[in-house]
Structure formats: structure tokens, C-alpha cells
Amino acid sequence: MSDGTDNHDQAPGSSLWPIGFAIGIACILVGLVISWPAAVLGAAVTIVFGVLWIRDAARSHAPVDSAPAHALVDGTPSEAQLAAEEQHLETYGRAGFLTLATIGLGGVIGAGVVLPSLGFAVLPSFTGEGIETNPVDLGPISNFPEGTFVITSFTGSKRQGDVSRRTAYIRNNGLSAEKEPSFTIIYSRCVHLGCPIQPNGPAFKDQAKTYKDVTLTPVKPAGFGCPCHGGAYDTEGNRTAGPPVRSLDRYAFSVADGNLILGDHFSVGTVAGTAADAVMTRYPVAYPGVHVDGIERFLYPLPVPGAGA
């Protein structure tokens, strides 16, 4: 049907511009890793060859001799016209090229705007930005009487201020079998969905102390309870009732100059033994409701980058 100017002899393919274009792209990519000037050079090469390529391609695709003016019968194109239209597409004329080029350029523009914004919106959450590395000083060990829990509220990050207020239930276990100081430090967030757990027992508000911005209130709990969906824990943080999926999170600690220093936050499957003899596996901090052991842990196979220590 279409015996126009456009046929396969003149199809692109002999042009070398795409190769230059590809080299330019490669330069950009390598430059991004090695040095900025190289990337800029690559960009320039890409643009130059890109323009040449487009010009070349556009020139070699003169308009197709279109099928005879559409004489529609009954509003539907005839067989012959359909065949012609198909051929028209197949011959890949100037219109076809411009269509693709428009879609392509549109895509590039879209990507240029959307990708950086999207990256900005999403990536910072996963780089670990804003995780505080300065250890928190909870004050002299003498503030933690042996064998009782102390409700300890502290500011996790001086820079972030009050948003980083946290509470831990800290029990001084005395000296361990190896004659090392031993503390049980339980994080105050329920491992069902993160509500603030409460100690089950009387708090001694009249014996409350403060050290800098740390507040310390002794308490005598028989365990911990969650006010949201009925989660309950014993004094080692093991679940005794309700929906929590693991034992309460804990903090590591160290002692420096007689002061208790808060260490890494970690998650726990279950705790065996009690107080100084407690044995548990430390897992990286997991979100509440996320199983760290047992078969259900396979529901959450991928570690989340930047989730903190």
C-alpha cells in the first residue's frame, strides 16, 4: 500500500551518533563515582551526540505518504484502511518517531522531577540520619537501690530535645557471678504496638530523685501491664498475657566513674533466668509487633536500613 519515501533502506542504523551518546552516558555514570568534572563532561558529550542523533533521525524520517483520505463507511474503517494504518505504523514514519520521542522526553522530564523528590521524601528515613550516638548518662549507681526497679525518664538526644524523652525500668541486680555490676534495663514501650507500659505495683513518689534531666522514681512492680490491648509482662519482660509478640526491649549499659551509662537499644525474643543470671539473645531493634524469633520471623525477612542500634 504505502509506497512513500520511507522504506527500510533508509532506516537508521548506519548512524554512529548513538555510540557517542552511549559513551556520554557511561562517562556520566563513571563520573558520578569518580569526579564531578568527568560527569559534567559526560553530560556535555551526551547532549551533543543526543542532539545530533535526533537531528539525523528526524531528517531520515520524512513524512509517510499517508493512506488516502479516510472515507469512512458506516463510521468504521474498511479492511483496506485498517491494513493501511497497520502498515503506516509499521513503517515507523516521522510521526511515529515524534510520538516515541515525545513520550521519551516526557518520561525524562517526569523522572527528573519525580525521582529526586521521591528520593528526598523516602531515603532520609533509611540512612540512619538523626540517630544519636552520644551515650546517655543516668547518674550515680547509688541512685539505683539493689533489687528494686527505678522508673527512669531521660532525654535520649540533647539535640532533639523533648521528642526524644524515653523511659526505662532499671533494676540494679547487684554483682553478677563474675563480680561485675549487673542491671536489668527494660524499655517502656509495649512490644505489641508500642503503648507505654506501666509498672504493676506501688511507686514511691516521695523517694523520687533527679539527676540533671533524668528523673528516677523507685517502684515495686510484680510485672508490667500495657494500657492498650491487655498485654502483660513479668519483671524480666517476658510476656505473661495478651498479644505482645516477644519480650520487652532492653538497653545495654556500662559503668563509668560510678555513673550508669545507657548503651545500645536491642530487642529480645525471650529471657531465660532472672536478674543477673538472665540469658537472652540480642536482636537488632525491631518494630513492636514484629517477631524476632520463632517461625513468624520469616514474615519480616528484610532488615530495615537505618533502624537504629
Binding site: 528515613s125 530535645g161 521528642v163 504496638l193 509487633g289 537505618g306 537504629g308
Partner: protein, 264 residues
């Protein structure tokens, strides 16, 4: 009564801006078509619920825009700015109160409107996409509720958000990633509030407006359904050959159907 030349002149002058606009935009014609297009004769009071939902949304958008002039999305000042709006700024309590209670009403109305369309079977051919855009609007409306709940930065706000984020975290595989994206880091931190604020006042409302546009376009294009129990429902099945013929025939049909009803 013939108009005086003077009256005609005034009328022409008054209509001139409309003509001027119509000539350049064609919008006057569209508006006229929109206003004077026919809807089924028997539409029911329950079918005002969609418009009511739209009104509630407009109330939210309007009051929200003005609340944004006084609200400060930063953990150190958010709570104080809410107190300031409620207690100090003239009429602040009213605008905040309208936004707060309007939110509940908006959600209630969406559910009622959905119940109405369910009851009428209005989601069936050809209105499937009304329903689907509707459900997405419902979800986005509830997402507005969730993100807005954090903004006062009081105890309820904070802890409901903690639980909400952690609910997302329990979704298999992707859950922890979603949660971490929502709180913008490993913990609810200084940026979480401004992120929720941006979602609450820009991202989600933008989506809602676009979808309301689509929803309304479909409603106008397809028309609203008649109550299914109506004997004169538009599109009711008929015997062969019986064709409605204008209002007179419609009245006759009404009377005939009524008598048939009585007879049977």
C-alpha cells in the same frame, strides 16, 4: 409585556460580562448545561448525602487553610500554637472547633453516603468507577483523620500515632519499611510532625481533590440512579412498545401504574 428600550439596554449591559466570558471560554455554556441538565424526577433525600459530604470537605479545606496560618508544625511549639489558636487568637476556637468536628462529620457522611449507594445498588453498571473512586476517597479520608490526629501534639495525639505507625509495621515484609517511612527515621522524631503535616495538608488533600473531581465527573456524566423502589424509576424495565413520551405520558404512566398496583 414589552420591555422598554431602557430596560433592554440595562439587561444587555448586565449580561455583557457573561457574554464576554462565554465567547472566550465557553464556560458559561457548560455551567448552564450542568445546572439545567435533567436528573431523575424521583431522586430522594438520601441522595443529598454526597453533596453533604462535599460540603463537609470544603469546610475542612477552608478552615484548614486558615489554621495553617497560626499552627506551627514543630514538636517544641505545636502544642503551644494549638493552645494559642484555641485561647488567644480571635475566633481561633471556632475555626479549630469547626475543623475538629467537621473531620468527624466528614467521615460519618462518607460512610452514610456509601451506605446509600450500597442500598441503591448504585455501584452497578455503569457506575463501578464511582464506587471505586469512592472507596479510595474513603481510605484517603481516614488517612486524613490519622495524619491530622497527631498535629495537636498532645498525649492522645502522640500515642495514637505511635500505635498507628506500629500497626503498619506489622504488615509482612514491607511493614517495617512503611513504618520507618512514616516516622521519617528510626523513631518518632522532630521531622515526623512536619512530615505528617505535609501529608495532611498537601499530599492527601491534593489526592482527595483530584479524586473528587473524577468522582463528580462520573456522577455528572452517568447521572444519578433513581431509588430502586420507585415505580417510575428512570431506566425501569418496560413492556415491549411502551415508550415514555414526555411529561404528559409520564403522568399517565404514573396513574396507570398506580391503578395497576391497587388492582394487584
Amino acid at each position: 409585556m414589552a420591555k422598554s428600550a431602557r430596560q433592554a439596554q440595562i439587561e444587555k449591559a448586565a449580561l455583557y460580562p457573561l457574554d464576554w466570558t462565554e465567547e472566550r471560554t465557553g464556560l458559561v455554556g457548560y455551567t448552564k448545561w450542568f445546572l439545567f441538565r435533567n436528573v431523575p424526577r424521583d431522586v430522594n433525600w438520601m441522595q443529598t448525602l454526597g453533596a453533604a459530604t462535599l460540603t463537609a470537605f470544603i469546610v475542612q479545606a477552608t478552615t484548614g487553610v486558615f489554621l495553617a496560618m497560626y499552627y506551627k508544625p514543630d514538636p517544641d511549639s505545636a502544642y503551644a500554637s494549638i493552645q494559642n489558636i484555641t485561647n488567644e487568637v480571635t475566633l481561633g476556637w471556632l475555626v479549630r472547633g469547626m475543623h475538629k468536628w467537621g473531620a468527624s462529620l466528614f467521615i460519618i457522611l462518607m460512610f452514610l453516603h456509601m451506605a446509600r449507594t450500597f442500598m441503591f445498588g448504585a455501584y452497578k453498571y455503569p457506575r463501578e468507577l464511582n464506587w471505586i473512586t469512592g472507596v479510595i476517597l474513603l481510605v484517603m479520608g481516614m488517612a486524613e483523620g490519622f495524619t491530622g490526629y497527631l498535629l495537636p501534639w498532645d498525649q492522645t495525639a502522640y500515642w495514637a500515632t505511635v500505635v498507628g505507625i506500629n500497626i503498619n509495621a506489622t504488615a509482612p515484609i514491607a511493614g517495617p519499611f512503611i513504618a520507618q517511612f512514616l516516622q521519617g527515621g528510626a523513631q518518632i522524631g522532630p521531622d515526623t510532625l512536619s512530615k505528617f503535616y505535609s501529608l495532611h495538608m498537601l499530599v492527601i488533600p491534593g489526592g482527595i481533590m483530584a479524586l473528587i473531581g473524577l468522582h463528580m465527573y462520573l456522577v455528572i456524566r452517568l447521572g444519578v440512579t433513581s431509588p430502586p423502589w420507585s415505580p417510575t424509576a428512570a431506566g425501569r424495565p418496560r413492556d415491549e412498545g411502551e415508550e415514555p413520551q414526555g411529561y404528559g405520558a409520564y403522568r399517565e404512566g404514573l396513574i396507570r401504574e398506580h391503578e395497576e398496583d391497587k388492582a394487584s
